[in-house]
């Protein structure tokens, strides 16, 4: 989540309250305060509230939350008369464009920092790393309208930001730091997005880099904004958030005509929400007036519409209001989570454990009785541990993850025994005898089921111990089995056996093969066993896949 820096002087000026009052209320508004410094605080907001990624946006919200200025902030938008055309060839490349003219900005220290921070945070939260939306900010006075957003040949060249020489767009992708970072977003297109002015001078190569020509400096007074992207709604919200933040800082917003359509409007969206639904959802009885009042503190426009509804005007910068319940959450925040109270409903239910839990609990109780210690090993492991060291052939049904994070964790375990041998290895220096067990999930194919395994290491560990333990486990689980020979290469020939139920081998026991012991760096004999818990009576069958709306 982006960290927003709030310089106290600028923040206090914009809010009209002192820092202590603001910082005191921020957590209950939904912010995490990361650091409090002498001249600023670093705070974190949720990714669904990109309108709070600037000092101006935070100040706007806190004026409402502190009751200094409530209700819908109204932003006047005049027409700039500036036009933009969009090349239809962009439809399959980067189709959507948003724009605005922002006049009389004063980009002194705090202002420009806030703007740059906001732009970065928007690229991350709304733009999904510039793919969905990318934002360009230009000094309007360096170029001549009207502007064109077009699909340009890849050989077109211009001077990119921070460079003094012309480069082709292909060169930019290879050589410019930003080009390299974002090349993957455009590389595969036959043509590249480009914004030029009336004299065919380049403003921007979205979503990669602006031209040096329109660089924004402390002297810049008038800004042209371009936002391009693949999602119209996201492009729109980015424009709205930037324009309203700059308007909060004292700038004037003017619309731009894109293919005949005036944007942005910065007008609120209207919703009618139910007073009863809101009261029921929150569990707090609220009147239409109370809801309207609370929403105004959250900077909505709100007024009762009869006794059952509230008319809500959602500010244009609120990206997160999708549903009436989103509005109700703001009612709750304004009301105060600490004032809602906490009650238990009268829902009557009887608790019930899952059959798998009953079986694994029984397994644990049996092994503890036999003097074994429980382990809870990882389920992610690798084929070296599962197969190679065990001298077992790799299972084609072992589930491999596509992009493992390390060589140690490439597959989900198919057995637990190898992980217990690993545990013995890690505890080699501890006093013997060591008797360990584990019961838990394994995966074969995409199916999850449970196994139990146990190991016993000490100078006297042998086949008889393993057999006796496997037998005790099966008897205590009520599992009738037939002992048969085994050819499991992890065990010594002549000192291994299988538990067979309904002609299916469900368990193995015996003395671990000395080569396997050495592979796990162990020096004493190990008596071991593993049992498939699906064989245990009462193990539940696989549930069917449920269907949405089937009933």
């Amino acid at each position: 989540m982006p960290i927003i820096t709030l310089p106290y002087t600028y923040l206090e000026r914009l809010v009209g309250a002192d820092r202590a009052a603001i910082l005191d209320r921020l957590p209950m508004f939904g912010s995490d305060i990361e650091r409090i410094e002498d001249d600023h605080a670093d705070v974190e907001f949720f990714p669904v509230r990109p309108d709070l990624f600037s000092v101006e946006g935070v100040a706007r919200a806190m004026r409402g939350f502190l009751g200094i200025e409530t209700g819908l902030p109204v932003y006047e938008v005049r027409q700039s008369g500036i036009g933009f055309s969009v090349d239809p060839a962009l439809a399959s490349i980067r189709p959507f464009l948003g724009s605005a003219v922002i006049r009389n900005v004063s980009l002194d220290g705090a202002g420009i920092e806030s703007l740059m921070g906001l732009q970065e945070a928007l690229h991350w939260a709304v733009g999904r790393g510039r793919g969905k939306v990318a934002i360009g900010v230009h000094d309007l006075d360096t170029v001549t309208p009207p502007f064109r957003y077009l699909a340009s040949p890849r050989e077109r060249s211009f001077v990119p930001l921070d460079y003094s020489e012309e480069m082709t767009m292909e060169e930019i992708l290879e050589q410019h730091p930003k080009g390299r970072d974002y090349a993957h977003l455009v590389r595969d297109f036959p043509r590249f997005p480009l914004i030029v002015d009336a004299d065919d001078r380049v403003l921007s190569f979205p979503p990669i880099i602006n031209g040096e020509l329109t660089r924004v400096t402390g002297e810049t007074r008038n800004i042209l904004l371009d936002t391009t992207g693949t999602d119209q709604k996201a492009v729109q919200i980015a424009v709205n958030i930037l324009c309203t933040a700059l308007a909060e800082a004292g700038a004037e917003i003017e619309s731009v005509t894109i293919d005949g359509q005036d944007v942005p409007s910065l007008a609120p969206m209207e919703r009618y929400v139910s007073v009863q639904e809101c009261s029921d959802l929150l569990g707090v009885e609220l009147t239409p007036d109370a809801i309207a009042d609370l929403l105004q503190r959250m900077r909505f426009g709100a007024e009762p519409a009869g006794s059952e509804l509230v008319r809500v005007l959602v500010p244009c910068y609120r990206a997160d209001i999708m549903h009436d319940w989103d509005v109700f959450e703001d009612v709750a925040i304004a009301f105060g989570y600490d004032r809602i109270g906490a009650d238990l409903p009268r829902t009557f239910t009887i608790g019930a454990g899952h059959p798998v839990s009953h079986i694994t609990a029984a397994v644990r109780s049996i092994f503890v009785g036999l003097g074994y210690l429980e382990m809870i090993p990882f389920t992610l492991t690798n084929e070296r541990v599962l197969f190679e060291r065990m001298q077992r052939p790799p299972s084609p049904s072992a589930l491999r993850v596509l992009y493992p994070i390390s060589e140690e964790q490439t597959v989900v375990r198919t057995d637990i025994l190898p992980l217990l041998l690993e545990a013995l290895q890690a505890n080699k220096h501890r006093e013997l005898p060591q008797r360990l067990f584990a019961a838990g999930d394994v995966v074969l194919g995409t199916g999850t089921y449970q196994k139990a395994a146990a190991v016993s290491i000490h100078p006297g560990a042998d086949f008889s111990e393993a057999y006796a333990c496997a037998d005790a486990l099966c008897r205590e689980l009520g599992l009738t089995y037939r002992a048969a020979g085994s050819d499991d290469p992890a065990f010594l020939d002549g000192r291994r056996g299988a538990c067979v139920v309904d002609e299916r081998p469900v368990g193995v026991f015996g003395e671990v093969h000395p080569d396997v012991l050495l592979a796990f760096d162990l020096e004493h004999p190990v008596a071991a066993l593993e049992l498939d818990l699906r064989a245990v009576p009462g193990y539940p069958g696989q549930p069917d896949t449920p269907s949405p709306g089937a009933r």
Partner: protein, 484 residues
């Protein structure tokens, strides 16, 4: 003071001589030397004897030395093999020539001129030769022999045992030498013969042997405790597969398809696809335009291919929503404690797999206020008495809340998240009442309650840690007892 029979026997053997070597005592007592030393140490602990450990070197011939034993050092043997003079060539044929010639020259016994070896006439028997005769004496020349690898030096440890005045006093009072009995036999018990036996008395001052009990893992006890709290509160336990399609893990929970959590950096994707369940179109419509609710949906085009891709479940909420899909009618109270997977590198506070706990309540008329009630109750039963609620954000709940609990020494600690399932989540499954939901990473609780600094300890445990961690924990017991 309860002496063992053996100690008494030792005192009896020792008292007449006052001081003796353990070996000599062993002979007198007809036992092994090590046994005598063991009895002596026991008696020494009681102040009856003193044990002095003496370390002495002992010399013996090496394998090479043995070859010369009785015949003399190689240079002496060589020296005596010829008269006054001999041609070098001829002398070199002697089997000991290689070693012997050098030593003869070094000791000044011979001179070599023009290929002729001539005795100087002065070849006295040196200290090394005397030592070689009887190396056990450790006499002057033995060092040279050790250097030449002919003699080996070993340490011999012996014990000299002396009786103390207290020991003497005890001895002079007389000692009871009846045979002591350790373990009683069945026969001795049923016949009553034990009454006439001289039973060995054991000292409680000797610490007992440590036996290690078979045990449930300390972390499991925490998981079990949470499970029990939820069962007590009337919740039904869920259990399910680790592998889920993106549909159940993300889409059914209204997680937008371009959400960062759905990228390969954060989630373990699998080379497996699951077909869409019947009725999946309701989820698609919800994503694209909000279905039949007041929602706008995420917009854009929802991709079936993306939803079919399987992942290692990133939360247990996929099991919750499947359960709700099967049980859309109220009331439903369910919980799940299960392992979840995130694509994180292992370090002390991050693991790619860990346990998550999750609970849901669906019923007619339940509200956000009730959610806060459940949170308060649950955390109180877990031993966190002080709780506060702050706004939160989770993709599939609205309103959302972050519970924080008070931990002495740490202050307010965020512990899990909660909220009411969005209507976009519940509506496609025909669920008509609010679903209160909360979840938390159990390992966080483990760190707080078990004072753990490194999460890896839970899954790659040092068994010494498990052996040392008591089964019973008073604080835990208190909270579960109150629950029961």
């Amino acid at each position: 003071m309860e002496l063992t029979l053996n100690e008494k026997k030792l005192l009896i053997a020792l008292a007449p001589v006052e001081s003796a070597d353990a070996g000599a005592l062993a002979e007198r007592m007809d036992t092994r030397e090590e046994a005598v030393v063991q009895y002596a140490h026991l008696a020494a602990d009681r102040g009856l004897v003193e044990v002095r450990r003496v370390v002495k070197p002992q010399y013996g011939l090496t394998e090479e030395g043995m070859a010369y034993a009785g015949k003399g050092l190689p240079e002496r043997q060589l020296f005596e093999s010829f008269d006054d003079r001999i041609a070098m060539q001829e002398l070199q044929r002697h089997p000991l020539a290689k070693i012997g010639i050098g030593w003869m020259r070094k000791k000044g016994w011979i001179a070599i001129r023009d290929g002729i070896v001539e005795k100087t006439g002065d070849a006295p028997v040196g200290p090394d030769e005397r030592a070689f005769q009887d190396p056990g004496q450790g006499s002057e020349g033995v060092r040279d022999l050790i250097k030449r690898g002919l003699v080996r030096e070993d340490e011999v440890i012996s014990h000299t045992i002396s009786i103390t005045p207290a020991g003497k006093a005890l001895y002079s009072r007389g000692l009871d030498l009846r045979e002591e009995v350790g373990t009683l036999t069945r026969d001795q018990i049923i016949t009553g013969a034990w009454k006439d036996l001289f039973l060995r008395r054991y000292s409680v001052e000797t610490p007992p042997r440590k036996i290690h009990a078979g045990k449930i893992h300390p972390y499991r006890r925490l998981l079990d405790e949470m499970r029990r709290v939820l069962l007590d509160m009337g919740f039904t336990e869920l259990y399910g597969g680790i592998v889920q399609s993106s549909f159940w893990n993300f889409d059914a929970l209204f997680q937008p398809q371009d959400h960062p959590a759905r990228e390969m950096q954060d989630t373990f994707f699998l080379d497996e696809c699951w077909p869409m369940p019947a009725g999946f179109e309701r989820i698609r419509d919800m994503h694209e335009h909000g279905g039949e609710t007041s929602s706008t949906g995420w917009g854009g085009v929802w991709s079936t291919a993306k939803a079919e891709q399987c992942v290692l479940r990133t939360h247990t909420t996929c099991l919750t929503i499947r359960h709700l899909a099967e049980h859309p009618k109220p009331p439903v109270k369910a919980f799940c404690i299960g392992r979840v997977y995130r694509r994180e590198a292992i370090d002390p506070t991050h693991l790619p797999e860990f346990e998550q706990l999750e609970g849901i309540v669906m019923d007619e008329g339940v509200s956000f206020r009730h959610l806060l009630g459940y949170l308060k109750e649950f955390y109180a039963r877990m031993g966190f008495e002080k709780i506060r609620f702050r706004p939160g954000y989770f993709p599939y709940t609205e309103p959302s809340v972050e519970p924080e609990v008070w931990v002495d020494g740490l202050g307010w600690v965020e512990l899990g998240g909660a909220g009411i399932f969005r209507e976009e989540v519940t509506a496609p499954f025909g669920i008509e009442h609010p679903v209160l939901a909360w979840g938390l990473g159990v390992s966080r609780v483990a760190m707080l309650k078990m004072g753990l600094k490194d999460l890896r300890m839970l899954y790659r445990s040092d068994i010494e840690w498990i052996r040392r961690t008591p089964v019973y924990h008073p604080e835990t017991r208190q909270s579960t007892d109150e629950a029961g």
